[in-house]
């Protein structure tokens, strides 16, 4: 069966989006991403170190022809900085897809919702395909969708916390109303978290720390790929209802007397 993650008309086979931060080196980054099967890969925009310009660049390990590069605005605390970062990213020539995050607080890394809405408006007007990181708030999700964002990306838990999906009920409401893909972004700790998100009907999962900071990032990348695939298939297959009492699996007819 054909099953794609459709973001603004582009179809992706993989529903796992991975970050490139926190790896030991570029080679480990490349291997983990390859094993994860991800087709969309997030990156950050930072100043070049001009006193010690490293010869190697992340893009030497991630072919932009093979992967969709998704620049983020991580570290931006206001709308203007986020918009500025996106404009810089676009000039790098990897497309118009951006992961918008406007951080509100460095302890929680929760998004600043009004600033995110403001930046999203500007970016959509300028022709960006905007994927915003947001709290698991259905009202914000709806507003961002109305602005013209190509997906909404509610957090499962704080970035890098590994706490898993803390509020499945809010996610369910977001999923019920959304007409754009809902991608769980941040908070996933292990493969079952990713599977749960997908079983709920989320369209994708974005993660970085859960893979990059695992004891064995390459093995965890594989686990996450399988977790996302298993969850997606289970969602499509349609799970059985939960019941309080047993239902026998073996026939009751033909029993010995």
């Amino acid at each position: 069966m054909e099953d794609f993650l459709d973001i603004a008309g582009t179809k992706y086979r993989s529903r796992l989006i991975v970050g490139t931060g926190k790896y030991k080196n570029f080679e480990e980054t490349r291997r983990a991403i390859e094993v994860s099967g991800a087709e969309i890969v997030t990156v950050a925009v930072r100043r070049v170190n001009i006193t010690d310009p490293k010869k190697e660049n992340l893009l030497d390990y991630l072919d932009p022809k093979k992967f969709t590069i998704l620049p983020n605005t991580a570290g931006c605390y206001n709308a203007d900085d986020a918009v500025r970062t996106c404009r810089l990213a676009r000039e790098a020539g990897v497309g118009k897809l951006v992961k918008l995050e406007v951080i509100g607080d460095d302890r929680t890394l929760f998004p600043d919702v009004p600033a995110t809405l403001k930046a999203a408006k500007t970016l959509v007007t300028e022709g960006f395909t905007v994927l915003p990181y947001i709290t698991d708030d259905p009202i914000t999700a709806r507003k961002l969708e109305d602005i013209g964002c190509a997906a909404v990306m509610p957090l499962a838990a704080p970035i890098g916390s590994g706490l898993g999906i803390r509020n499945p009920y809010n996610l369910r409401i977001i999923l019920e109303q959304a007409r754009v893909p809902v991608i769980v972004d941040a908070g996933v700790g292990t493969a079952s978290d990713a599977a749960i998100a997908m079983e709920m009907g989320c369209h994708g999962v974005l993660m970085n720390t859960a893979i990059a900071s695992a004891k064995d990032p390459i093995l965890m990348a594989e686990a996450m790929r399988l977790g996302v695939e298993a969850g997606r298939k289970a969602y499509l297959a349609g799970r059985i209802p939960k019941k309080l009492y047993a239902t026998a699996s073996s026939p009751l007819d033909g029993m010995l007397n």
């Binding site: 970050g19 490139t20 931060g21 926190k22 790896y23 980054t29 997030t42 990156v43 950050a44 925009v45 930072r46 100043r47 070049v48 001009i50 006193t51 310009p53 010869k55 660049n57 992340l58 893009l59 590069i69 620049p71 983020n72 991580a74 404009r87 810089l88 990213a89 000039e91 790098a92 020539g93 990897v94 970035i159 890098g160 941040a186 974005l206 993660m207 970085n208 720390t209």
Partner: protein, 66 residues
């Protein structure tokens, strides 16, 4: 003349264009994006962009991130 690159004061030769500066810094133009006095400089304009005293440059690239 003095310019600022990524927050650091730098002394550069007069008459240098942006393409020449990137070469001196050993940066590959295809891997960086440059903002000059808050305006993004398109890549095909590096050679034609003459640097001036007091310019403030931001040179960025992609790094690992989530």
């Amino acid at each position: 003349m003095k310019i600022k690159i990524n927050g650091e004061d730098k002394e550069i030769a007069t008459g240098l264009n942006l393409g020449g500066l990137l070469e001196q810094l050993q940066l590959r133009p295809a891997r960086v994006v440059v903002e000059r006095n808050r305006d993004i400089v398109p890549r095909d304009a590096y050679g034609a962009t003459m640097l001036a005293e007091g310019d403030i440059l931001e040179i960025v690239h992609f790094v690992g991130g989530g």
